[in-house]
Symmetry: C2
Subunit: 184 residues, 2 copies
DNA sequence: TCAAGATATATCGCCCCCGAGGTAAAGAAC
DNA sequence: GTTCTTTACCTCGGGGGCGATATATCTTGA
């Protein structure tokens, strides 16, 4: 998804893609060659992208990759009906978020709301005692566990805040569009 | 690591461990049965834990798992000299953090500092233009990418802040210990 | 009494991903 | 000129995690 997502912006070669994917994921280990190149090959076989060999600007020749119409459709399908993991798993969600603007408003909003629901369903309980009862941060003895819960809580609040503001913004814009349509 | 870490607190059975591991990771997909039980078996083979069958309090019989001395040593070794991924990868780091209090102070501090260094080495640049130049948030057209960078930045600041405060605290406590020793 | 559902444990094969290793070209260093 | 480093691409084997599936037990309710 990230490969096609980046190629929607402009053509790129594999090596560049590798760096962009690595940066996107924050400070997670970059994607391995053994993952990237076979995936590019698979996308090419599925006619999601085309390649043409260009002389390397610095060193070895590059394969410039361009997304096709099939690829654009595939990307949109992945974004539109993502696997559940892309809503629940933080890193996957962030990747999806990076390319979400390729969808139209109602669907964007639905996915943002789906992500928002995650935070309602699963309260941030990290630690439990022998009996399965949740331990609040102030009763934790380890300062690291305390910190972990603080970080977790703060991170969640930050994202929840953004999700709510974005939902409102999308709503406003949707209302405006309807207004325009019904007015025109 | 999480299995032995939780068993250091008190004996548990597999099903309970599964839920605790899932909760610890935040709202990430819970660990699969096909991962958990073979791992328990491997730890048992390595004499890191013992099991005794107990009648199920609610349903089927449980295998109560207890950590051994070998297991405690193994846990300490994993915490003390963790694979690099446990510093760089957010989720792995959080797991390590949950059990870090089983180490003694100088090593705790070293690992916290190692994590802190991650944020210095890799500035939070998520998106780049055709020429490889980083795009600042205000020049991003997608509100989702803007949000992504905001969330990323805020999350990083939260953790950096905690890491710095914790480093100071560990330092203070280490100094106090030295003070006590040289005074005694 | 029997079915359904929650609890609890276990195994197996598939797939995916990673690390390691290899190739190649261009520029820099010496 | 030869070697080193960086850029750039590719493949293969192994390992590990996951989903699917099976099994057993106890409670609940029709």
């Amino acid at each position: 998804m990230a490969i096609l997502g980046f190629l929607r912006d402009f053509p790129l070669h594999g090596y560049d893609l590798k760096n962009r994917v690595a940066s996107l994921a924050g400070h997670v280990r970059p994607v391995a060659d053994g993952t990237l190149y076979p995936t590019i090959r698979k996308l090419e076989d599925a006619q999601c992208l085309t390649r043409r060999t260009a002389p390397g600007s610095v060193a070895a020749p590059r394969h410039m990759l361009e997304i096709t119409q099939t690829g654009t459709d595939q990307l949109r399908r992945w974004l539109r009906d993502p696997e559940p993991g892309f809503i629940t798993d933080d890193n996957k969600w962030y990747v999806l978020l990076a390319f979400l603007h390729h969808l139209e408003n109602p669907r964007e909003q639905a996915l943002v709301l789906a992500r928002r629901r995650e935070f309602l369903d699963k309260p941030a309980q990290l630690f439990f005692d022998e009996h399965g009862a949740p331990i609040p941060p102030e009763r934790l003895e380890s300062p690291f566990r305390k910190g972990l819960m603080q970080i977790h809580r703060s991170t969640n609040l930050t994202e929840i805040d953004w999700l709510d503001r974005e939902t409102a913004e999308l709503n406003r814009r949707a209302g405006f569009t309807v207004q325009q349509r019904s007015g025109g």
